[in-house]
């Protein structure tokens, strides 16, 4: 090895010490900022500006005012939310007992049942909705277009989203807790109320979130099962495609987002046992 003064000076050139793994995240950060954050900012931008004389953008709330002034639109928003809430409740009423009963079975049966419930999710949602249309056509065509049909369709599509989180949480409850409860004198009902239910709340809230949001904003189900009924999703679509009125569409989208954000925050506040988001140990 050549040890000369030149050698040492090359060696002394200190490389900037960079943690080797910071580069890994860079493609994602680019994606995050360009395809997720900027679009959101753009929505806000379009919702609150209006183009004056071709080039000049002025801040305005005109779209929002327009929306709230048209009672028809407010009704559409209210209808969408009401339908979504009803769907969510029905999903909960069906989904929770279903998840609970599944956990009572043998592990291999559980796996099969979960698979059966979730496998249809892999078939295109439009196709499944169309299938229900076909069934309604067969049984009673007059039902098409009613709230009933829409709710049936939504429950059908979103039920697995309610069942899965609840099942996951229920199956993770340490069976020893049931023993402990029995040991301390708890009847089956009491055990359910005091042990099972509280521990499963996070799953329930998860399920509610995963059903409420898409149910409120779906475009597909109102179209096929509602006889092209206009709900909030369709409304936004119309504003963008039919009238090219982006500002208006963006404003509606923001109102929708805000309402949903409020609902989500509300449900998150209720859940004190959150796991995934909380970064406890560094």
């Amino acid at each position: 090895m050549f040890h000369g003064p030149l050698q040492t000076s090359v060696r002394e050139k200190r490389k900037v010490k960079v943690k080797p793994y910071t580069f890994l995240g860079i493609p994602y950060y680019i994606l995050l900022s360009s395809l997720i954050i900027i679009p959101l900012l753009l929505i806000i931008f379009y919702a609150v500006t209006i183009q004056e004389q071709g080039l000049y953008y002025k801040f305005t709330l005109i779209y929002f005012r327009q929306f709230f002034n048209e009672t028809e639109f407010v009704k559409v928003m209210a209808d969408s939310i009401v339908l979504a809430v009803m769907t969510t409740l029905i999903c909960l009423v069906i989904g929770y007992p279903l998840a609970y009963y599944i956990t009572k079975r043998k592990p291999i049966t559980q796996a099969i049942l979960v698979l059966l419930i979730t496998a249809p999710m892999w078939v295109n949602m439009l196709i499944r909705t169309v299938a229900w249309k076909q069934i309604f056509d067969m049984i009673n065509p007059r039902l098409l277009g009613t709230d009933f049909a829409i709710i049936v369709g939504m429950v059908y599509v979103f039920l697995p989203f309610m069942v899965l989180p609840i099942y996951t949480v229920l199956s993770k409850i340490d069976p020893l807790l049931y023993e402990a409860s029995a040991d301390l004198g708890g009847s089956n009902l009491k055990t359910f109320r005091k042990v099972t239910l509280p521990l499963s709340i996070s799953g329930v809230l998860s399920g509610i979130t995963m059903v409420l949001l898409p149910a409120a904003t779906t475009m597909v189900i109102p179209r096929y099962l509602g006889q092209n009924r206009v709900l909030i999703g369709t409304l936004i679509e119309r504003k963008f495609y039919d009238s090219g009125n982006w500002g208006y569409g963006a404003a509606i989208a923001i109102i929708l987002s805000l309402i949903i954000m409020v609902m989500v925050l509300f449900t998150k506040k209720l859940d004190r046992n959150k796991e995934v988001e909380r970064d406890e140990k560094a």
Partner: protein
């Protein structure tokens, strides 16, 4: 009493399953219908399957759906997995911020994400088409990859990477030898989720495909004259494929349920 409960709960489960599979049966049944009706049975026939493969429109939509789904899955899994690994090494504050931002497209209604991307592409004067659709799919698939892979990465023993380096592996090789084998399962799960989300997507594709792009969902939605039974045939094939894949997967992983 327990047997009583078991029976009741069993019936309940059965009813729900009937509800879940009724439309599926109907779809499959009527795909073999000899006449065009979707409500009356006219005899057994493979006619619609032939129609299906002859229809260039439908086949085009199916092919493109696959192409986009496969590409989007590959890219989002790579980007997402690297991001998950990189994130686990970052400072807590930064990590939490990114995770929260990452959750935005998951929590946001699809239509909002779709509009945002539409506005983005239009502002950049990008022509709507398969390119923009692919970008959009990557955008909404990657967050799902991250929420699937990241928890697994976080739960790994940090000293494994150190051990690999201690034994002479460069940082990148350490990831390859020490981390990947452990998160393989999560990566596969993430790929499955990403593929499903992309394959099944409607809203975001609809808004970002412009006038040239199409996939199965867009094709269906924009049908002018009602749904032909060829769709039933397509659905049946899809259901068949899904059944085979799911059954195979189940058989291969059956062991883990017996060990309890």
């Amino acid at each position: 009493m327990k047997k009583h409960n078991n029976l009741l709960s069993g019936i309940f489960i059965l009813l729900v399953l009937l509800f879940v599979y009724a439309p599926i049966f109907s779809l499959v049944l009527f795909s073999f219908n000899a006449n065009r009706s979707l409500t009356t049975w006219g005899g057994f026939s493979f006619e619609w399957y032939g129609e299906l493969f002859r229809s260039r429109e439908i086949m085009n939509a199916v092919v493109w759906t696959f192409i986009i789904a496969i590409l989007a899955t590959i890219i989002s899994v790579i980007v997402g997995t690297f991001a998950a690994i990189g994130l686990s090494k970052n400072k807590k504050l930064f990590r939490n911020a990114v995770i929260n931002l990452n959750n935005i497209p998951i929590v946001n209604p699809e239509i909002v994400t779709a509009i945002g991307l539409l506005l983005l592409f239009q502002s950049l004067k990008l022509q709507g088409g398969y390119g923009t659709m692919l970008l959009a799919h990557i955008a909404f698939c990657t967050p799902y990859v991250i929420i699937t892979v990241y928890p697994k990465v976080k739960s790994l023993d940090p000293s494994l990477i150190e051990a690999a380096q201690d034994l002479g592996a460069t940082p990148m090789r350490a990831i390859y030898y020490a981390v990947f084998p452990q998160i393989k399962v999560a990566i596969f799960a993430a790929a499955a989720i990403a593929f499903t989300m992309s394959f099944d997507d409607f809203v975001i594709s609809y808004f970002t495909a412009g006038s040239t792009g199409t996939n199965i969902s867009i094709y269906l939605y924009t049908l002018k004259r009602g749904i032909p039974p060829t769709i039933n045939a397509l659905s049946t094939i899809m259901i068949l494929v899904v059944t085979i894949v799911v059954t195979l997967n189940f058989i291969l992983t059956r062991k883990q349920y017996k060990e309890v």
